[in-house]
């Protein structure tokens, strides 16, 4: 029996075991009939750049999708490099899906502009809507949330991860009807103002499957115990503000409530921590796998006491108050650690305010055999330390190092850090994401182009000496999908010489580099399947062609120039006149 004679529903059943997008894409290329069968049974799509394809096209190809994930603005928008009004509007997608995917269950958005109108449309049109994740989004208010709460009868998950929500007050939480008992996950940590505690409590009480609850800062510590006692089945908890008057009754109440939560694996929140209240969580520490203390302004001794009780910890986010001594304790206790993020407590200060150096990271790399994902802000680094880290942890997958002062050299030798990062890419053969910092010449890019064959995302700032640097990366990194560059002396040559490469990538961002407007035009004309967008808030870039373009965002697309560009974005395409109208 040949495979081509297998009945469609058998093939469909087989395909349903294949979840990864990449594999699904490969399946669809085998033959026409497999393409057809596959596209009718694909249930989930991920669009990494909402402008790469039109919603109509996506719906036409995959008519039976239940879950959509979209990303909008470029990553550097997180750091205020993308002006307001740039784009990333989700409304066209929602409008299309309201008609095309009436049974849509899940929508996950990142860095998109979401309006109340969009949320209301979701609530009105999608009868089986279950999961809404708005990560780093903006443009909506609690009015939109009220619509979701009121009309999505089967809502399981509402996650507002670090989004910017306007709060014109109004009690949106109480819009969840009494009949809503389906909530599994609620994350309102980013909400600025108060929510009605009684509405929250009633919601928690009637949702027995609630596993994730992330409160916002406005929820006082005195009330946390009460909530916990109503939801002892919680697996993930984000506290509200973690400070209260020091009173033994509050403490014992809180400690008692925590000890009743036998399933807790993840803790976050911890704003305004009063250290005396930390021991209240000690009873759950032995089971914790994730701990986000990145807003907790507590000092190293308190952090050490806490972390030393969490032997199962896999993921720790913390401020640099932890210091090298705290990282040493972490390395000694948490042998299961996979991910470490150390954020700066005073990133804009001139002098170090804590004793956190490269040593802390070296110690963790030595002590934690499963460490694979690092984000580390510090003020000094050495090639030796980087080489040691690389040799200790060849299984590293994500390595993001931010030495706070741009172009800081190796503090021991005053050399560039080329060799250190070179060791990282050489030893860590599965490295998928890398962020560079410190003093770096073209050499580091030579290493990256030569060794970083699995690298998918590279972030660069204040590095390199010439176009050769960019050329190494574009010509050598076979798996590169996203490249973002700020303040580097990279210009036209490398870009134009590697134009074809850009079509194999999701996007390229270059700001404050040395790319000329002429080169952008050339690129736009040569590569019809790329959108070459120049961002310039001070006026049309062709009015000062002798200056390099300020910001450049290039991405592949099958839909041509977008129609929602604001006045300060120019698509330098086929016509050298900048815009059609």
């Amino acid at each position: 029996m040949s495979y081509s004679s297998l009945p469609e529903d058998v093939l469909e059943h087989v395909f349903s075991f294949v979840q990864s997008d990449k594999d699904r894409n490969v399946i669809s290329l085998v033959c026409k009939s497999w393409y057809e069968i596959e596209r009718w049974c694909r249930r989930r799509i991920f669009v990494g750049n909402c402008y790469a394809v039109s919603p109509r096209m996506a719906i036409r190809r995959f008519p039976e999708v239940r879950s959509v994930e979209l990303k909008g603005k470029p990553h550097f928008a997180d750091f205020n490099l993308v002006p307001e009004g740039w784009g990333g509007y989700v409304y066209p997608w929602i409008r299309a899906m309201a008609g095309g995917y009436p049974w849509l269950e899940e929508l996950k958005l990142k860095r998109m502009v979401v309006t109340d109108e969009s949320l209301e449309l979701i609530a009105k049109s999608l009868k089986n809507f279950k999961v809404l994740v708005l990560s780093s989004c903006e443009g909506f208010s609690t009015h939109g949330l009220a619509a979701i709460a009121a009309d999505c009868k089967n809502l399981k998950e509402l996650d507002l991860w670090e989004s910017d929500v306007e709060d014109p007050s109004g009690n949106w939480l109480s819009k969840f009807p009494d009949t809503c008992t389906s909530l599994v996950s609620l994350n309102i940590a980013c909400l600025g103002s108060e929510v009605s505690f009684s509405a929250l409590e009633r919601l928690v009480v009637r949702c027995p499957n609630l596993r994730t609850l992330r409160l916002n800062r406005a929820v006082p510590l005195e009330k946390l115990a009460h909530l916990l006692r109503q939801a002892p089945q919680l697996v993930e908890l984000g506290t509200g503000t973690y400070s209260a008057d020091l009173r033994p009754d509050i403490f014992s109440n809180l400690a008692g409530a925590f000890s009743g939560c036998k399933e807790l694996k993840s803790l976050s929140g911890f704003w305004d921590v009063v250290p005396a209240y930390l021991p209240a969580v000690y009873s759950v520490c032995s089971g914790l796998t994730t701990l986000n203390l990145s807003y907790a302004t507590i000092q190293s001794p308190d952090l050490i006491k806490l972390v030393s009780q969490c032997p199962k910890l896999q993921c720790l986010w913390v401020l640099d108050y932890i210091e090298d001594s705290g990282l040493e304790a972490l390395a000694a206790t948490c042998k299961d650690l996979r991910e470490l993020r150390v954020f700066p407590s005073e990133p804009f200060g001139d002098e170090p305010n804590v004793s956190l150096t490269e040593q802390g990271l070296v110690l963790v790399s030595e002590g934690c055999p499963k460490l694979e994902s690092v984000l580390y802000f510090c003020r000094r680094m050495s090639n030796d330390a980087l080489v040691t880290i690389a040799k200790n942890r060849p299984s590293m997958i994500r390595f993001r190092l931010c030495i706070i002062d741009p172009q800081t050299p190796d503090y021991l030798t005053l050399e560039p850090l080329d060799v250190g990062f070179g060791a990282i890419v050489q030893h860590c053969k599965d490295l998928r994401r890398l962020s560079l910092s410190g003093l770096l010449t073209d050499r580091v890019f030579e290493y990256i182009g030569t060794y970083a064959k699995k690298l998918e995302m590279l972030s660069v700032a204040f590095a390199g000496e010439s176009d050769l640097g960019l050329h190494h990366v574009l010509s050598g990194c076979d798996s590169l999908r996203k490249l973002e560059i700020m303040d580097c002396p990279f210009g036209d040559k490398a870009l134009l010489a590697n134009a074809a490469k850009l079509e194999t990538m999701r996007s390229l961002w270059m700001s404050s580099c040395s790319v000329s407007f002429e080169a952008c035009k050339l690129l736009g004309q040569k590569m019809p399947r790329l959108n070459v967008e120049v961002i310039d808030e001070s006026g049309p870039p062709d009015s000062r062609p002798e200056l390099p373009v300020k910001k450049l965002y290039i991405y592949r697309t099958v839909t041509g120039r977008r129609i929602d560009m604001p006045g300060f974005v120019w698509n330098v395409g086929e016509d050298s006149a900048l815009r059609l109208s």
Binding site: F348, D405, A461, L468, D487
Partner: protein, 193 residues
């Protein structure tokens, strides 16, 4: 490892650069100038630097590192987190960690940042220096003995309390303002009830 030093651009069909310009990039191996580009005199930092752009006309010879004034986009910290840090700072100021200090008889008030002191002795010493007086000896039962000056504070509930009675951490979160009382009024508070 053998490596081309020059991009062999004749081999590519795309000719680059504006007509008449020359290749001005050298492939230096030495440490680059801190001002990373060597032929761009238009890279004024002013459009990108938030704070005073006194480095607007940076010369190529300058070897000082990029100005410590804030550069947009660096360090790469999410606005969400930055706002949280700011909120924390201004909240600390709003919530009374910055408190007014008055002294009976003194013509104007002072303001101090409670957080910079780590305990009562440090705070009292600072007050003594600020207003040129001396507090008496503190005891739990008798308050301050041996001086007509008594440090007091207004707490969150609006009550006037004796400085030193509650644990330091509790004090700094509940103190709304400080007042150094003097004379008979002080005696009333400082003496055991």
């Amino acid at each position: 490892m053998a490596f081309e030093r020059d991009l062999n651009l004749e081999a590519t069909e795309l000719r680059l650069g504006l007509p008449g310009t020359q290749e001005s990039r050298s492939n230096k191996r030495s440490l680059p100038d801190m001002n990373i580009v060597d032929d761009q005199d238009h890279r004024s930092g002013s459009s990108r630097v938030i704070a005073n752009a006194s480095n607007a006309t940076k010369s190529e010879e300058e070897t000082t590192p990029p100005s410590k004034t804030q550069v947009v986009g660096w360090p790469p910290i999410r606005s969400y987190r930055k706002n949280s840090l700011q909120a924390k700072k201004s909240e600390a100021e709003a919530s009374g960690i910055y408190v007014k200090v008055s002294m009976d008889g003194a013509p104007y008030l002072r303001k101090i940042h409670l957080n910079i002191y780590k305990d009562y002795p440090e705070l009292l010493k600072a007050l003594e220096d600020m207003f040129k007086f001396k507090v008496g000896e503190y005891s739990e039962s008798e308050g301050y003995n041996g001086s007509e000056f008594v440090p007091t504070y207004e707490d969150k509930d609006g009550d006037w309390m004796l400085v030193g009675d509650v644990p330091w951490e509790m004090f700094i979160t509940s103190c709304k303002r400080l007042r150094v009382m003097k004379g008979s009024e002080a005696r009333g508070l400082g003496c055991a009830v």
